[in-house]
Amino acid sequence: MTVLRGRVLPPLIAFVGFLATWQAIVWIGGYPTFILPGPLVVAERFVQAWADGTFWPHLTTTLAEIAVGFTAGAAAALPTGYVLARSRLADRVVSPYLVAAQAVPILALAPLIALWFGTGLLARAIIVALVVFFPVAISAMVAVRGIDRRLLEMARSYRVTRRQRISMVEIPAALPGIIGGLRIGITLAVVGAIVAEWTGGEHGLGVLINLARGSLFDIPLLFATLVLIAIVGIVLYGSVLLVERWVVARS
């Protein structure tokens, strides 16, 4: 009971307060639905779109892009981060490009990638991977650099091979930092997927936003889609937290 009161009640109250404020703004301002629909209208539209299957193809498309892009981006970023941390040369040669690539907004890059790779899963996954890569690589680099040198010397005194050093000392020691990067990466992956979908294509939650705003002119649907995107972000972030908890408990 107290757990319920302590953990669940405050966010619940905050959420209800948020919805009430939203509704109040709509009432007081007297905005029409096509400018700012109230939470009840949006909730209704959400349920309807979910039930009649409007969301389904778009949601699965977006999730597939995130899954492929995030996995590929993180898989490439982790070894890169490690090498950057351990090789001064690699850091000097590669880091400027990384930072430069990061400074170019993905919004500007997305049409270019669409031009080269089309508007299918591949192009979108590439964009997601690009967005995920930087925070994961940097956090892995910082985490590996931060490993206590004295632990490494201890390991060396027992004649660890390079592979043993990586798997038995460096990875577990860097894991909290790496997971922190994955947390940032997964939320950026959602943004990346939506941005990628704006460049065209038939399905995807980003496409649905464009449709709702454009040809369908269904503003409640647009809001309902935003809500769905937010839920996707929360669920994915939550699953990274679950993985983190599992890893921490196991190690």
């Binding site: 201890m154 005194s157 043993q164 020691a173």
Partner: protein, 281 residues
């Protein structure tokens, strides 16, 4: 002591050991020609002022640093990290994500021993240092003294013939420390390895060691080699014996000329050579 005893009886032989750290561009001499022979199954204590190079000397003997000169363990050269030498660092250096048992099993895992062998041996070692009940605890759940004992157990995992202890109990309160010294002697009697330990406590050095080596300030050389003529097994009450007072006085006399760098500078006791090294460039 430089007239060498028969090789089989010598656990560690150091001859003309020189070592320097590169510190922004210049070389800071830490070991200035250390000669030392340690008899098999004996306990030798190293004392010397802060920063004189005691830890460095142990790391050289353990093969973690390569120095000019000779380092031999049991008649064979030490050319890198060496399984015949177990080093317990000044801090426990445990892996925080591993349990006590898994920390002790770490060297065995690295050496590729099988799972059951690892567990059995690690449990045995935990028992040896009195931590049998703590097998599943993480380092963060252990007290400072328990962590140090865990580090000792880990260093014993590969059955080294030489155990190097770098101020193993410096973080403990005086009473616990006395108790641990008794434990160390008991452990030593059971495992029968040669022990070299660094300490800043003269009574501790006398209580534990057969010989106390006094090192000079950096660059370290052997300033004195004091025999401790106290029978074994030793008890804490022995520390009141007249021999102890005499031995302590002898060690102090040698250490007096070998005070802490900073203290020596402040007291204007540094020789010309050192004064030059300390001077700002």
């Amino acid at each position: 002591m430089s007239d060498a005893p028969p090789p089989a009886e010598t656990a560690i032989r150091l001859a003309g050991l020189r070592f320097a750290f590169p510190v922004d561009g210049r070389r800071v001499e830490v070991l200035g020609g250390v000669d030392l022979a340690v008899e098999r199954r004996s306990v030798v204590a190293l004392v010397g002022p802060n920063g004189c190079g005691k830890s460095t000397l142990l790391r050289v003997v353990a093969g973690l640093l390569r120095a000019a000169g000779t380092v031999e363990v049991e008649g064979r050269r030490v050319a890198g990290p060496d399984p015949r030498v177990g080093l317990v660092f000044q801090e426990p250096r445990l892996l925080p994500w591993r349990t006590a048992l898994a920390n002790v099993a770490f060297p065995l895992e690295v050496a590729g021993r099988g799972r059951t062998e690892r567990e059995d041996r690690a449990r045995e070692l935990l028992g040896l240092v009195g931590l049998r009940e703590w097998a599943g605890a993480r380092p963060a759940e252990l007290s400072g003294g328990m962590r140090q004992r865990l580090a000792i157990a880990r260093a014993l995992a590969l059955e080294p013939s030489v155990l190097l202890l770098d101020e193993p109990f410096s973080a403990l309160d005086a009473l616990t420390r006395e108790r641990f010294n008794v434990e160390i002697l008991r452990l030593w009697e059971r495992i029968g390895s040669t022990i070299v330990l660094v300490t800043h406590s003269i009574p501790e050095a006398i209580f534990l060691a057969d010989r106390v080596i006094v090192l000079s300030p950096r660059p370290a050389t052997v300033a004195a080699d004091v025999l401790v003529d106290l029978p074994r097994p030793r008890r804490l009450a022995d520390l009141d014996a007249a021999v102890v007072t005499r031995t302590a006085a002898a060690i102090r006399a040698h250490l007096a000329g070998a005070t802490d760098d900073a203290y020596a500078v402040a007291a204007g006791e540094v020789g010309r050579h050192e004064a030059l090294e300390e001077a700002p460039r």
